[in-house]
Symmetry: C2
DNA sequence: TGTACATCAGTGAACGCGCGTTCACTGATGTAC
DNA sequence: TGTACATCAGTGAACGCGCGTTCACTGATGTAC
């Protein structure tokens, strides 16, 4: 009895660990199929999971059976597409991060003056809070919960955000003929702060969200102003 | 059955030694008891829950049965003390917030110069990340998960932090003869940013934590420097 | 072209598990007299 | 003081549930010839 239990949990842990190492959507779908084609795809399962995420549901609270139910397949069919829920969750986190970065990148491309960049980006951010795609929700919610693999997946996406923001900051400051003290740190502070404020805003009514948006705009300007003045002090 | 017995006795002795003074006094214990006295207290149950929280366990992932097991009581005895796990979790969050604010308040009292206040506070913060009490872990982890009531409880504690930090900022800036643009917003930005950075640090090795500590110190100085320069611009 | 075969996505039934919750109970403690 | 009684924290057994996972299977699709 006891041994059975140990074995059971051991197996679970092993598959969990393997899931950490698995990377993305690709592998399975790129494989050549000799036999029957899938009538449901990994993407459809991911969509099913997304449809279940809501104000009080994070990816890590979803059960395999729930997702299968939402996708209209038998629970055991799930295993044809993902090793376990962790693997799906990580694929979903990566998808969310990739999609969001593209959205922000486009937003920043449209704006050129520094002030409008901050504001435009943050407006896009707040828009995404309420978007049907729920990509931002996913990143905000999974950051602190679930397996270590989840946290790593979210952290990786945030690092991408930081890197892209840093590049844009350098570009814009060069454009304005100003200097920042430490663009990397500035990008990091802004990213983390905006996500933290976003996490607060996510469940609030629209009016409160606007207030938080205004606060966040000022905060970001504070950080940039501070980095500029610290750059001057150094010179 | 045999295993259960062993677990029972082991946990009982463990919680016996773990038993410590708790700040939080539940309404239930203040009630006048006409009959038998409790042989286990709300505080012991909270302690049991705390002992279960670890790198990969947040309060909201604990089951009622787990906590009862750790406390050495039968699952149904749990109901003599709390309506459900949510009630325990919220008591725990409040306890964590209250304890932490006291710790920070003491740390800030000790320091007077502004620079050392930032550094001292953040060092205390990082210390708490690794403290056995796990108070900070609790606040960092429960912020984005679990019921709406959880989020509200954490949010309430963060608002307390902001308010106290704002007071200290005003006090210190008066001392230094400087002005901040918007002390409330500064306090908020610092609080949220520090907690966000803390959430990143919480599972990292000590060397990485030190690096994050240094980054955070600079970030906080950036915000303060920015708020000062924006105050000057306004004048 | 038709036929035999291989592939494998999806299935239904079953499993053992830990869970929250309920019930009627026990018996130690405190109280009234 | 002793005795009868009330209170109620803690209990053991039981419940129904949803869960992850397994198994042997079915049958549609694609392929070889």
């Amino acid at each position: 009895m006891y041994t059975d239990q140990v074995l059971y949990f051991r197996c679970k842990t092993v598959t969990g660990t393997l899931a950490q190492e698995s990377i993305l959507l690709g592998a399975k779908n790129e494989r050549i199929h000799a036999g029957r084609k899938a009538v449901i795809s990994r993407e459809e399962l991911i969509d099913a999971a997304r449809s279940l995420i809501g104000p009080n549901r994070s990816v890590s609270t979803l059960s395999l059976r729930e997702v299968a139910r939402a996708a209209g397949i038998a629970p055991n069919s799930f295993y044809r597409h993902f090793r376990d829920m962790d693997e799906l969750a990580i694929a979903l986190i990566d998808l969310a991060g990739t999609s969001l970065r593209q959205i922000f990148s486009e937003a920043r491309q449209r704006a050129t003056a520094e002030r409008s960049v901050v504001r435009t980006s943050l407006e896009v951010f707040m828009e995404q809070l309420n978007a049907d795609e729920r990509f931002l929700d996913i990143l905000l919610r999974e950051g602190k919960v679930g397996s270590e693999a989840f946290n790593l997946a979210v952290e990786r996406q945030l690092l991408f955000f930081e890197a892209e923001l840093k590049n844009d900051l350098l570009r814009l400051e060069a454009l304005n003929g100003k200097k920042l003290f430490d663009a990397e740190l500035v990008a990091r502070a802004i990213t983390r702060l905006v996500f933290a404020m976003g996490a607060v805003a996510v469940n609030l009514p629209s009016a409160e969200q606007s207030k938080l948006l205004e606060q966040t705009v000022v905060m970001v300007h504070m950080i940039i102003a501070g980095a500029r003045s610290m750059a001057l002090d150094k010179t």
